[in-house]
Amino acid sequence: MKPLPRSVQALWLIAISAFLIGTVSTIISLMQMKSKMSTWHRKSRDIYQLSALRTERNRLQAAMRMHEQWRGPMTPVQNMAGTFFPGVSHVNWKESSDLLAPGWRINRLTLSLADVPADTVFRFLAAVASNNPPWNLESGNLQSGSASGRLARIELTLSRVQSPGVGNAE
């Protein structure tokens, strides 16, 4: 059989090269596809988790902004206690203040009362929580008294965050 013309031989050479390169690259692509899919799946899961974390951060930032806006006049807790628990003379007060972050402080107030009506305690807590910024009930304990609806002794720890630039009004 006579050899093919040079142009056809060259075309064959190029064609075979292209086919081989194409085949090899396709095989490599197919081999990598599984691991790539797995990477994408993991990345998508990460993004989902990152979105949840960003929501969490947004909540924190919204809370910070809210605290920064709370700059109104505040009624001192001692005055409110006097209003809610008239005649209760043996109130023990303990105050402390800690640095939360640069410019941010947390003030704590622990008060102990004895023989007070339970519903008045809860109204007192609701009243201090409506301050701007609010006093939050952080911890405590209570012991019921003998008479129904009265508490023999309560100890409450209230906390309040103080945003930067706000002095302690109390």
Binding site: L4, G22, T39, I47, L50, W104, A129, N136
Partner: protein, 449 residues
């Protein structure tokens, strides 16, 4: 070896040309309803869609069965030329030849190859004769093999086992004998004149076996004139065979063979118009086919390359997109992009949020359900269930109630009443003072993070 010229040339009809002396016998072959049909034509009216086929006469060419001591046909074909060169009385490079058939032998250790060929001078001479008669055939068949092949086609009973078949082809200038056994071509011979003694000498070795049944056929343009009752009687008595049976339309038998084989191809396909005799159209066609195949291969290769490149591009783009989104989110959480190295975005973001939460958790307290509500509900539920709460200790994550109830069922009702999505409850029995008639309990409530 077994190629179909029709496929090569993409033709739809063929002309078989047999020169009886200077008289051409032309048969046109074509397919009708999937079957081959023939039509005698008076002159070559071939078109671009017609293959023209003729043949080298038996006396101008050769056929050989060569035994090769190799079992694998592919290997056997490679050594055919060497063995053939030894057997021929002239140089093989002065010939065109074709390996027509390769069969494994019964011993499974050797192979037999049927080779047909002709010297260049004979081919040139035959082509010259055909050209003078106005023909330029695309295919040059071999007479003996073509005759046998056509006999199998038209008289299929010759393929039966233990049958030796002899076909006499009587032409004005020669008599050709084609011999086969069990449907397989064995040999072909040619003599100038139909001399009975010469025919007897040629055929005797093939007719020696008494166990074989013998079938004889006659054909050729001179079959009717040569085969007089006297000749046939002589032939039958000397060879001890029955009278040769005339084939259908004996005159055009060889032309039919050439035409059919060129159009349809068969097991004994060959074309001696090859090498230096190959017509330009064939060369161009072969070159065109090679180019076409190369282009198809090139396109396939380019398609594969393109699809791979597209995949790589799409893959990189998708990865970059995901990485970009991930990074953007991490930066919005961490704040400083340097804190989140590539691939570590989630970890960096989780650490950052944990740190921020540790510091700023008290900021969120005003936005959580107030702890006082939980305490109030616990006290009122206890009252409803007749329980007496002795003490209650609490902080941001847990509330512990100590008390007494009328019975244990009341304690459990209290536990169920205080259960809610944000809090879990665990009820424990407490050792009560020996004089107490009411069961004492400890109810622990824990906030779910």
């Amino acid at each position: 070896m077994n190629y179909s010229p029709r496929l090569l040339l993409n033709r739809i009809t063929s002309h078989g040309v047999d020169l009886d002396g200077n008289t051409p016998i032309i048969v046109e072959a074509f397919t009708r309803n999937g079957r081959i049909a023939y039509r005698k034509v008076s002159s070559d009216n071939s078109t671009r869609k017609t293959i023209v086929a003729s043949c080298m006469l038996q006396r101008e060419s050769f056929t050989r069965w060569i035994t090769i001591p190799l079992a694998a046909p592919r290997k056997a074909i490679r050594v055919v030329s060497t063995l053939l060169d030894i057997q021929l009385p002239f140089a093989l490079d002065k010939c065109e030849y074709s390996v027509v058939s390769v069969v494994g032998n019964r011993d499974s250790k050797s192979t037999s190859a049927l080779v047909a060929g002709a010297r260049h001078s004979e081919i040139a001479s035959r082509l010259h004769l055909l050209s003078a008669a106005g023909f330029s055939p695309h295919v040059m068949d071999q007479e003996g093999i073509a005759l046998w092949s056509q006999l199998i086609e038209e008289e299929p009973q010759v393929t039966s086992a233990n049958v030796t078949a002899v076909l006499f082809f009587f032409a004005s200038n020669r008599t050709t004998i084609s011999i086969g056994q069990n449907g397989r071509f064995v040999a072909a011979h040619s003599v100038n004149s139909p001399d009975v003694s010469m025919l007897q000498r040629i055929l005797r070795p093939y007719l020696a076996s008494p166990t074989r049944s013998l079938m004889a056929f006659r054909s050729g343009p001179s079959a009717l004139t040569v085969c007089t009752p006297l000749f046939l009687s002589d032939l039958c008595s000397s060879l001890q065979i029955s009278e040769p049976q005339a084939v259908r339309d004996p005159e055009s038998f060889l032309a039919r063979a050439c035409a059919r084989r060129a159009l349809m191809g068969d097991a004994y396909q060959l074309n001696l118009r090859s090498g230096k005799f190959q017509i330009e159209e064939h060369k161009l066609q072969a070159s065109r086919r090679a180019r076409h195949t190369a282009v198809v291969l090139l396109l396939a290769g380019l398609a594969l390359c393109t699809s791979s490149a597209f995949w790589i591009w799409a893959e990189n783009r998708r990865s970059a997109e995901l990485q970009g989104v991930s990074r953007q989110l991490a930066e919005s959480i961490v704040g400083n992009p340097k804190l989140a190295p590539p691939g570590q975005e989630l970890l960096a973001a989780q650490r950052s949020i944990e740190e921020q939460k540790t510091i700023y958790a008290p900021l969120l307290a005003p936005f959580e359900p107030p702890l006082s509500d939980v305490l109030q509900r616990a006290l009122s539920s206890a009252l409803q269930n007749g329980a007496n709460v002795e003490s209650m200790t609490f902080n941001g994550i847990s509330v512990i109630l100590h008390g007494q109830a009328p019975d244990w069922a009341a304690c459990e009702r209290l536990s169920v009443a205080l259960r809610e999505p944000a809090w879990t409850t665990r009820l424990e029995r407490k050792d009560a003072p020996s004089m107490a008639s009411r069961p004492a309990f400890v109810l622990r409530m824990t906030r779910i993070p």
